[in-house]
């Protein structure tokens, strides 16, 4: 892009510590979309130390500066299941089961990918390791504006999809010439490590053993000791993941393919949240239907986003497509904010504008639900990190 419409006004340091050193201030806007609550017009929100202290139409506090703004203020949006930001650093291909791995050690808080998300009003992104392992370790949740990582929500990443077998191809009989031979070097230079399994049943047994080993990391999945991120794609895989979750009373999120909607009721029963797969040109019909089904069944869900490969606007576009398929405006918005937060068990911290939650805001020049609305400012943890120079507030009275 040549003249980017957005300029970032960033504090000198991104260090997480900075977030808490914010002074207090009050934002006053024409319309304040609290999220699952009412729309206050006008509305005020008191921010203290990067956290929302008070919300209402008559909020006031002593010697606290009031910033009057025009437009619509909403909570920041949440992107789920991004595997691209961590990159190879997040993927350890040497073990098939590696619960000890922690993505945060491979995470670069300064990556420009975060900035692009931030410009699009996405203030929180859930990162999952791009690994083909059965158990790839703990993912992480990061704030796009600051790179701050949320202590909660480092889910254990367990695979149920065929992705984990990609290094064990079908050796067309006489396989030397067949796929098998090329896999000798692996699909992308990778090398098939020992300990890998090549089949669903094989992987399933390995998982069972791991979970049943007393005192192991994995055993904490049972009964929701630690949250799980269950990666699946086809309906069969999703239902296997569900069976696993039910069997061991696992808490967490299930990443599922476009047709997950057909399993909505079972998922509702399992108490898991859903991360809906990235929308592709070929699957919106199923994906959007699924969104409607999940909403109907009352399953919290959000959208996945591959930030490096896809325009961050995908997130809003996905929601828009769901609207077309009949998803209500409120449910569509929910999927972008606190629905997604619930899906990853962070509904206490983010997703709405309510006291006690992180001060992640987006200021729009119109209804946040409309693609035609422009993002003017973005705050993360109470700090304004984006200001759109194109429409300076001065212009509007």
């Amino acid at each position: 892009m040549f003249i980017t419409a957005l300029t970032l006004t960033l504090a000198a340091s991104w260090a997480p510590a900075q977030a808490s050193n914010q002074g207090a201030y009050i934002l006053q806007v024409d319309h304040l979309h609290t999220g699952n609550g009412p729309v206050l017009s006008p509305g005020k929100v008191l921010v203290r130390d990067g956290v929302i202290a008070e919300v209402g139409d008559a909020v006031s506090a002593k010697d606290v500066p009031i910033l009057e703004l025009h437009g619509h203020l909403s909570a920041g949006m949440i992107a789920l299941g991004d595997t691209t930001i961590l990159g190879q650093e997040g993927a350890d291909a040497t073990r098939f089961v590696l619960p000890e791995a922690e993505s945060r050690f491979g995470f670069d808080p300064h990556t420009p990918a975060l900035r692009r998300l931030c410009e699009q009003g996405i203030t929180t992104v859930v990162l999952t390791p791009p690994s083909d392992a059965l158990v790839a370790g703990r993912g992480l949740v990061a704030k796009t504006g600051s790179g701050r990582m949320l202590a909660k929500g480092q889910a254990m990443h367990v695979a149920f999809d065929a992705g984990m077998f990609e290094d064990t191809p079908d050796p067309t009989p006489g396989g030397m010439s067949g796929g098998g031979f090329f896999q000798f070097f692996g699909p992308n230079g990778s090398v098939t490590p020992n300990g890998y399994k090549s089949s669903y049943p094989g992987a399933a047994r390995l998982l069972e053993d791991a979970v049943q080993t007393k005192g192991s990391q994995m055993s904490q999945l049972v009964g929701g000791g630690i949250r799980a991120w269950l990666r699946s794609d086809s309906r069969a895989e999703t239902s296997r993941a569900l069976a696993f979750a039910m069997r061991h009373k696992v808490q967490g999120t299930i990443e599922a393919g476009a047709r997950v909607g057909e399993l909505a009721t079972q998922i509702q029963a399992s108490g898991l949240g859903v991360a809906l797969t990235v929308f592709r040109e070929t699957n919106p019909i199923h994906a959007t239907r699924s969104a409607v089904e999940l909403a109907k069944a009352g399953v919290p869900f959000g959208f996945c986003l591959e930030a490096r490969d896809r325009n961050a606007a995908t997130l809003r576009l996905s929601a828009a497509l769901c609207r077309r398929a009949g998803l209500s405006a409120s449910n569509a918005w929910k999927a972008l904010t606190f629905g997604a937060a619930q899906a990853v068990g962070l509904d206490g911290e983010i997703g709405t504008i309510a006291p006690g939650k992180d001060a992640d805001f987006v200021l729009w020049d119109g209804d946040p639900n409309e693609l035609t609305s422009r993002i003017e400012r973005v705050w993360v943890d109470g700090k304004q990190v984006v200001q759109n120079t194109q429409t300076s507030q001065g212009g509007k009275q």
């Binding site: 892009m1 040549f2 693609l371 429409t391």
Partner: protein, 554 residues
């Protein structure tokens, strides 16, 4: 005459056209006059006559002056006198638009000028064509971006819009459809729908290629159906997108029930498509531009050489006929001379030799070359040239290199770095077709292009005319969403809507046929329950080719 017959025949055999409505021969006959082309290319002769009346105007009326090709100078005037229009305009602006003045600037000017021109709208006399009679009533009828009629009606008969007004009554037996908002159906200026994939990816195409033989309307039709339901009734498609020249494109209907290209294709020639940046390194990229320009030149020369041959040939014939007359006249004498010579020869005992005979040779006929022919007409501006390019350097190079073709009508497709050359684009009235690095496209879209909808906003504010297409990775059914997103990036709302309606029509010389809710136009209409670019809006009815092709789903 024989030679032209040959020429035509070859054209015909090349599939460029069929004799009666041979595309090129048309252009030849109706030299320079492009309007005259539309009726022919678009079929439906009856309406042609009806349009003559207003045909002169549309360029001038259909707003967005700055993006007109140079030919239509009219625009320039008229504009200045429109200042006072602003305040009057302000009144009938609804609150939504009020939100942002800057968004309206472009189109305001033309609007009331049109108001004058369009009143009164006496019904268009149409010879009855097949197709139902529809009477659409809308709270708001968006005649064209920026021009709205409150509580207006649209009368559709025989596949065409017969009349638009605020006081029309439904004729006997007309089907009456009521809705909140009525507007022209969306046009995707750059899609891949409806052509067979292999031909689409073909890298061996050239200027003479025509997609008619590659249109495949039997393939699973769900993509077209989705586009139609989203209100995109017509899309521009062409083949051989990986070739230097892809040949001309067509505009075809997304109605999945149509399987015969003859029915589905409403515009047989939209534009010539070319692609740059196929090469990896800078040098060969410069070479590519040179080639493109060189080919245009040779096309021009080619047409020249034909016309000069024609003249030479007629001259030669004249000469020969005279010669022949003379010879016939002198035949008696010649006979005598011959007798004499014979006798003389006998006497001298020499054997008799005939006189040597010489005559002027006929001029050499140029070798027929369909590609050059096609490019010649492009160079003459009889059809726009859409060039797919993204790099700033390439764009600048291209724009400068093509400056010695005054008639050439250039359109940039892609243009990721077009902001670098924005002033040039404005100066030369070169529109840019922007496509989203499609968020829904399979596979990875390079990150640099992932902002191209903000590019739409930037270009628009810089005064460049922007078209929005689904492009090579996008999906037509998301077209209105792309436009909406572009607004979110600061593109004036009317401009965004125009980018998928009127401006598309203009770019492909179809402004007299599609893109607006105006009498005489093809009936490509949408009835919806809200603002065209609003996410919550559901398209209730889609009228295409004068028929209701989408009904509200229960």
């Amino acid at each position: 005459m024989r030679f032209s017959l040959l020429r035509l025949s070859v054209l015909l055999a090349l599939g460029l056209a069929s004799p009666p409505t041979s595309a090129w021969s048309q252009t030849a006959d109706a030299s320079q006059n492009r309007e005259a082309l539309d009726p022919v290319v678009l079929g439906s002769v009856p309406t042609a006559s009806a349009q003559e009346g207003e045909e002169k105007k549309p360029d001038a009326q259909d707003g967005q002056g700055e993006d007109k090709p140079k030919q239509d100078a009219k625009d320039g005037e008229g504009k200045d006198g429109d200042k006072e229009a602003k305040d009057k305009e302000a009144k009938d602006k609804d609150d939504k638009e009020a939100k942002d003045k800057s968004k309206k600037d472009n189109d305001k000017k033309d609007n009331d000028k049109k108001d004058k021109e369009e009143e009164p709208l006496e019904p268009l006399v149409l010879t009855e064509l097949p197709g139902p009679v529809l009477f659409l009533k809308g709270e708001r009828v968006i005649v064209r971006p920026g021009k709205v009629l409150e509580n207006a009606q649209v009368l559709v008969r025989g596949g065409r819009i017969q009349n638009v007004g605020t006081d029309l009554v439904a004729p006997e037996g007309a089907r009456v459809i009521e809705g909140k908002v009525i507007c022209a159906a969306f046009l995707d200026p750059w899609s891949t729908l409806g052509v067979d994939v292999q031909s689409l990816r073909d890298g061996s195409g050239d200027a003479s290629l025509q997609p008619m033989d590659a249109i495949d309307l039997y393939e699973p039709s769900w993509r077209r159906e989705r586009a139609l339901r989203a209100g995109v009734t017509l899309v521009e498609s062409h083949v051989a997108i990986n070739s230097g020249f892809s040949g001309t494109g067509v505009m075809l209907s997304t109605n999945p029930d149509l399987h015969d290209p003859e029915q589905a294709v409403v515009l047989k020639r939209t534009a010539m498509w070319a692609r740059l940046e196929r090469a990896g390194d800078v040098i060969s990229r410069i070479e590519e531009v040179d080639n493109l320009v060189g080919k245009l030149k040779s096309g021009e020369d080619y047409l020249q050489s034909w016309s000069s041959y024609e003249t030479k040939y007629t001259e030669w014939q004249k000469e020969i006929t005279e010669l022949q007359e003379k010879l016939e006249k002198d035949f008696k004498k010649a006979q005598k001379d011959r007798e004499k010579d014979k006798e003389k020869a006998d006497k001298d005992g020499k054997e008799f030799k005939e006189k040597r005979y010489k005559e002027p040779k006929p001029p050499r006929k140029p070798r027929f070359d369909a590609d050059k022919e096609a490019l010649g007409h492009v160079a003459r501006g009889e059809m726009p040239l859409v060039v797919m390019a993204t790099r700033a350097a390439v764009l600048r190079n291209l724009i400068e290199a093509t400056s010695d073709f005054p008639a050439l009508r250039l359109i940039i497709a892609g243009g990721d770095q077009a902001m670098h050359v924005a002033p040039l684009l404005v100066a030369r009235n070169i529109p840019v077709m922007v496509w989203p690095a499609d968020p829904l496209a399979d596979g990875e879209a390079p990150v640099e292009t992932s902002g191209t909808l903000s590019l739409a906003g930037d270009l628009a504010r810089a005064g460049v005319s922007v078209l929005i297409g689904s492009g090579e990775g996008g999906s037509s059914d998301a077209l209105p969403l792309y436009a909406a997103l572009a607004v979110g990036y600061g593109m004036p709302e009317d401009h965004a809507l125009a980018a998928i309606t009127t401006r598309v029509a203009q770019a492909f010389d179809a402004q007299s046929e599609v893109g607006q809710v105006r009498r005489g136009r093809r009936a490509e209409l949408l009835v919806m329950d809200g603002d065209p670019l609003s996410v919550g809006t559901q398209v209730q009815f889609v009228v295409s080719g004068g028929e209701v092709v989408v009904e509200p789903k229960e």
